[in-house]
């Protein structure tokens, strides 16, 4: 029977409508010593208004340089069962589809070797197993890998790629997000498991500009599905929407960012050449509007959290690229990017920061992409710029 702690502050967080993480911790605490001590220490954190975790050291499984986050308590004397409390990152499936069979197996393993606490999922997209001891890591890895599962990324490595639900259950997917995500993950296993980059690298793939995976905000490489062609209009469905009370003039035409729509109470028209494919009209009138023509993706690079130079959003590198399996063009492009980053990146410098530091030209030239206006919101202001000898000869 694990030790029980008084948790008056945390108990307050079992009240209220929303499901309580404290209840979850208590459930696990009833079963494992680790979860019990985790709960006890958390109560202490609430009381002290500070974290009681220390910086992690390097722990992991044989042959891998990542996939486990080391974590130690700073008050192990009080909570000995979380003296070690490492996290194991299991590489999730594309778009987080599971079978009950797998989930139950996973629970069995985790109750046996770990705290019984999980995160479904971590922010990057791993199936996060929260809290175990160093000596359990090899067993956990053997249990999972023998069943066909592998660890995700951590450290200066490729991190677990993730994607939106896309073609599996969404009518707007322009690309096969699940397959791209799977294919990238399989292709770059070495880059994921043996950290050798200047810093972390993340892929996120989404089927359209709605971006249900926040790819543009938190992926070094954001792959966003799009199309080249017309938006097909089913005028009967347009009429239906109007009948059901959609104010097409205000809610659709009036909110179109490129002002390329027209509606005269009879027919809706779109000037496709001026559409920026923002997805608003399509999302709000899904039965009436459908992109047609060539499908592919826009590749954007560089988003990340604020350190060191401030938060960034990914920006366009390749406006359009076909995305047919096995995605060789994309993979080759990514390898080129990594080569350049490996060569010039400083320790803890993300690829986007490096591009900002050394300039788009060097990056684009290295990866063999031409400059196009789609890469910028607007051209530069100040007329100071570099010329190469080749430019001058021209």
């Amino acid at each position: 029977m694990p030790k029980k702690y008084d948790t008056p502050m945390l108990d307050e967080l079992e009240k209220g409508q929303f499901p309580s993480f404290v209840t979850e911790m208590k459930k696990a605490a009833a079963k494992t010593d680790m979860a019990a001590d985790a709960l006890g220490q958390l109560e202490r954190c609430f009381k002290d208004k500070k974290t009681h975790w220390k910086h992690g050291g390097i722990v992991g499984v044989r042959g891998y340089g990542g996939g486990v986050i080391g974590r130690y308590s700073d008050i192990p004397q009080d909570f000995p069962n979380v003296a070690h409390f490492h996290t194991v990152r299991i590489n999730s499936t594309s778009a987080y589809f599971y079978t009950s069979k797998f989930l139950k197996e996973m629970c069995d393993i985790w109750d046996k070797y770990g705290s019984g606490l999980t995160n479904l999922h971590g922010s990057t997209g791993d199936l996060v197993l929260l809290g175990t001891k160093t000596e359990q890591l090899e067993s956990i890895f053997a249990e999972f890998s023998s069943r066909g599962w592998d660890l995700g990324g951590s450290g200066s490595a490729l991190r677990t790629p993730s994607c939106c639900v896309g073609p599996a259950r969404c009518e707007w997917a322009n690309i096969d997000t699940l397959d791209i995500n799977y294919s990238i993950t399989q292709e770059f296993q070495d880059e994921m498991h043996r950290p050798a980059f200047p810093y972390k690298f993340k892929f996120k793939t989404v089927g359209c500009a709605v971006d249900c995976n926040a790819s543009i905000a938190r992926a070094d490489c954001s792959i966003i599905g799009t199309w080249k062609g017309k938006i097909a209009i089913d005028q009967a469905e347009v009429a239906n929407y109007a009948k059901k009370g959609l104010n097409i003039a205000d809610e659709i035409v009036g909110m179109c960012p490129s002002k390329c729509m027209n509606y005269d109470d009879k027919a809706l028209k779109i000037d496709d050449a001026n559409c920026v494919r923002c997805m608003h009209c399509i999302a709000k009138m899904t039965k009436a509007l459908k992109p047609t023509g060539e499908k592919g993706a826009t590749i954007l690079i560089g988003s990340k959290a604020p350190f060191v130079i401030g938060a960034t959003l990914s920006w366009v590198i390749v406006p359009f690229i076909k995305m047919d399996a096995p995605y060789t063009e994309l993979k080759d492009l990514v390898r080129k990017m990594w080569e350049w980053w490996d060569e010039h990146g400083k320790n803890r410098e993300r690829i986007g920061e490096l591009i900002i530091r050394r300039g788009m030209r060097e990056f684009l030239e290295y990866i063999g992409i031409d400059p196009v206006p789609q890469q910028v919101k607007e051209p530069r202001r100040d007329p100071f710029y570099f010329w190469t000898e080749a430019d001058l000869q021209k």
Partner: protein
Amino acid sequence: MAAPQRRTDIGPPHYKDFLPPVIQKNYGSWKYHEVISGGTMVHVSNSGDKIWTVRVASPRLLSTDTIRDMADIAEKYCGGYIRFTTRNNAEFLVSDEKNIEPLQKELKQKGYLSGGIGSRISNIVHTQGWVHCHSAATDASGLVKVIMDDLADYFTTKETPNKVRIAVACCTNMCGAVHCSDIALVGIHRKVPRIDHDSIKNTCEVPSTISACPTGAISPDPAKKSLKINDDKCMYCGNCYSVCPSLPISDPVNDGVAIVVGGKVGSLRSNPKFSKLAVPYIPNNPPRWPEVTTIVRKILDTYIAGAKKHERVGEWIERIGWEKFFELTGLPFTFQHIDDFTIARETFRTASTFKW
């Protein structure tokens, strides 16, 4: 039980093995969807096949007991198929219409909270907080719980002008999408890191610690074989502590929470936007952070009252202007709101066009 045979570099299993048959059949061929209620929607394929999704909230931090229970429910109504969303909700995938009602009933009876679909508040993307991270300036799960308790009606039934994406990160490393969320909370420090001169030589790499500082506040202290911090330049971001354990920065009295608002990631109507500072600091007041929930509620109410249909928080604010945002919410505008970081001058008002 003998240890099973380990394998390496196999990657995750193929996703096809986890897709319900109706999805396998209609993969890439969905025609449209309809939102049936706050927690249920149906997708219809070109073949006429349908799949219903019943979404329930999850605290994300799940015990194996709860996962097993979800798996049981999935077996009962969904052929064992279940998925999780990019915002950590669980989705029961139903192929047979007649299973929906019993599923919803069982979920309700077991205390699951169904919702998050459509123009509503969905789950809060968040991070480890005091549950697991050494870097946390506040707790994450606790904040999520108190905010979602307060706003639960907007998860289940009530509508907002458009989706409202809330995020929480426990420090400025921002392991969530805080920097591009409609409303987000982030743990911050307000004191210069303390320097543990004794341990520094063994635990820290000096050059990377120096270059971790966004403001160049750190320099070598050769005499002490340690580091120096220029107090005037330090803005308490904590990045030095991320790379050097000997520079602890957490401070129970001065740590707390900042609120940023108006970000988004989708491109609908307007381009992806960064969140911007609304409230520079609220003290940590666990377990229920009442000041935080009050202000979040105030911001949300003001948005709901003022926004046009389909406007996200950031779109609404940009339409009315930030000066009106501060006026309408009653939040004070302080020196902290004025940028002094890398792109500060791009945020200055280079026009005399503003509202009084």
